[in-house]
């Protein structure tokens, strides 16, 4: 019940992330089980191959996330002398969070937005668009920095890498197995003719729908991590009003970052894809109105110790 305070919000979101990741794991099992039902024992060998490919492809981008993301977004690293005031505000949040000082980067773009990346807090990068630095006052900037530092502290690059690996493995598995179905479907009947037809149809449906379910789970995890970062940001600054008014600026602004790639859409503080997103279920971020409402609820509690 106590979800209005930032501590309550934090643990609720952590719990939901855990459940969603567990759901991902369960989904892998369901897919493997369906494959076994449909194709028989011979398919077991495919599972480690799919997981291996997914692991290798995601692990590389996770490990080098700081340099890859900087390249993909065209961000430029800043020195303290380039913008002493920005560094002052960042140092304040660093002290509040107890995390190491991140590298700071700026993206030449008039749309206000920001992101954080890096495989661990020691390799963290936080980046801001020039539009955001121009539009925000000190309190708002502090809120945005706290949100980004929360991603660093909560290790969200790792969480999303785990989610991406599982979703990738599921997509690969389902793809390989549906191909097998077209080419080797006939052999199955000879091998295990005792298969229950309902179980066969069910496992076929699972194989076809699993990638979609994986993407939905991945988006849900991303939304939970955003809500968690908002709550953790408040635990750093104890000032929900700052982040709230920053989000209001972002909500009022209709310009969108000129993304070079949709692959990094989920890392920004405000989704650059909102206009295009098919539905709430696929969104990487909770609706901004919902986030503002959650922060307002924390403000109403008054200053907390």
């Amino acid at each position: 019940m106590d979800q209005v305070s930032f501590r309550g919000m934090e643990s609720a979101n952590r719990r939901k992330t855990f459940l969603l990741l567990a759901g991902m794991g369960a989904l892998v099992w369901v897919v493997v089980f369906s494959a076994l039902t449909y194709f028989g024992q011979s398919t077991v060998g495919i599972v480690p191959i799919a997981v291996g490919i997914a692991l290798i492809s995601v692990w590389g981008s996770y490990y080098a996330s700081d340099s890859i993301v900087l390249k993909m977004t065209g961000a430029r690293l800043l020195q303290e002398s380039d913008n002493p005031k920005l560094f002052n505000v960042i140092q304040e949040v660093v002290i509040a969070s107890g995390l190491p000082m991140p590298k700071v980067a700026v993206v030449q773009d008039t749309a206000p937005n920001a992101f954080a990346t890096g495989r661990n807090p020691e390799h963290a990068v936080i980046a801001f668009t020039t539009g955001l630095l121009d539009a925000m006052d000190r309190d708002q900037l502090q809120g945005v920095i706290a949100h980004e530092m929360s991603h660093v502290g909560n290790r969200d690059t790792l969480v999303s890498a785990v989610a991406a690996t599982t979703a990738g493995a599921i997509a690969l598995l389902s793809d390989m197995l549906t191909r097998m179905m077209w080419f080797g479907g006939g052999r199955r009947n000879n091998r295990d003719s005792n298969g229950n037809p309902i179980a066969l149809v069910l496992s076929l449906v699972v194989l076809i729908l699993a990638p979609l379910a994986a993407v939905l789970l991945k988006s849900a995890i991303s939304r939970r991590r955003e809500a968690l970062a908002d709550a953790t940001a408040v635990s750093f600054t104890r000032n929900p009003a700052g982040l709230r008014s920053a989000l209001e600026v972002l909500a009022a602004d209709s310009t969108v970052v000129h993304q070079r790639s949709t692959a990094v859409a989920h890392i920004w503080i405000e989704s650059p894809l909102d206009a295009r997103s098919v539905s709430k279920l696929f969104a990487t971020h909770p609706p901004i109105e919902e986030r503002i409402a959650a922060l307002k609820a924390m403000e109403n509690l008054g200053p907390s110790k």
Binding site: N88, E92, I95, A96, S97, G98, F236, T237, P303, K305
Partner: protein, 184 residues
């Protein structure tokens, strides 16, 4: 034979549990020490800004000597404080004296427009924020430590680790408990 193995396994598990809780308490205790050192670093930064600030204000408002005295004596007192309570008390006194000084500065438009004062302004507000976040971080760490010292099962290991509940950093001035608010 198998009984011996079971006994051995139980002993290993018990040792692992002990090490885990012992280390957790030590880590929390060290974190509090580090957080307190951070407060002192930030207080030192603020203290270093004071002479420059006083000189700048003096140039425009020389006759407000009572206010300067307060700031300077509060700063001098702070250098001798070592315990948490003393440091917090001295910190509170400086915070209050500085607020008085800045209130004085309000009354002198020439001073407020001077380039020296403007460059001090950003330094002062960020330092005040840093001091305040360092206090908050310290208190959060004390809160975690004290919870561990007082709750089961970590409480059983506290005497062995020689870790006990620590003092919160409490600044007397009720205003300074709130979000930092240095406006010029």
């Amino acid at each position: 034979m198998s009984k011996l193995l079971i006994a051995l396994a139980v002993i290993v598990v018990l040792i692992l549990i002990l090490v885990t809780f012992y280390n957790r308490l030590i880590r929390l205790n060290v974190a509090v020490d580090e957080a307190f050192a951070q407060i002192e670093v930030q207080l030192k930064r603020r203290s270093d800004l004071i002479p420059n600030l006083v000189e700048t204000v003096k140039g425009y408002a020389a006759h407000e000597s009572a206010t300067f005295e307060k700031v300077i004596s509060a700063r001098a007192k702070a250098t001798t404080a070592t315990t948490v309570a003393d440091v917090a008390k001295a910190d509170g006194a400086i915070t209050q004296a500085l607020r008085g000084l800045l209130a004085v500065a309000e009354a002198y438009p020439d001073l407020k427009a001077s380039s020296n004062f403007l460059s001090l302004q950003e330094e002062l507000s960020t330092t005040e924020n840093k001091v305040s976040f360092a206090r908050q971080f310290y208190n959060d760490n004390v809160r975690s430590l004290n919870t561990a010292v007082k709750t089961i099962p970590t409480s059983f290991f506290a005497p062995m680790a020689k870790v006990s509940a620590r003092e919160f950093y409490e600044v007397e001035d009720p205003q300074s408990r709130q979000a930092p608010n240095v406006k010029f």
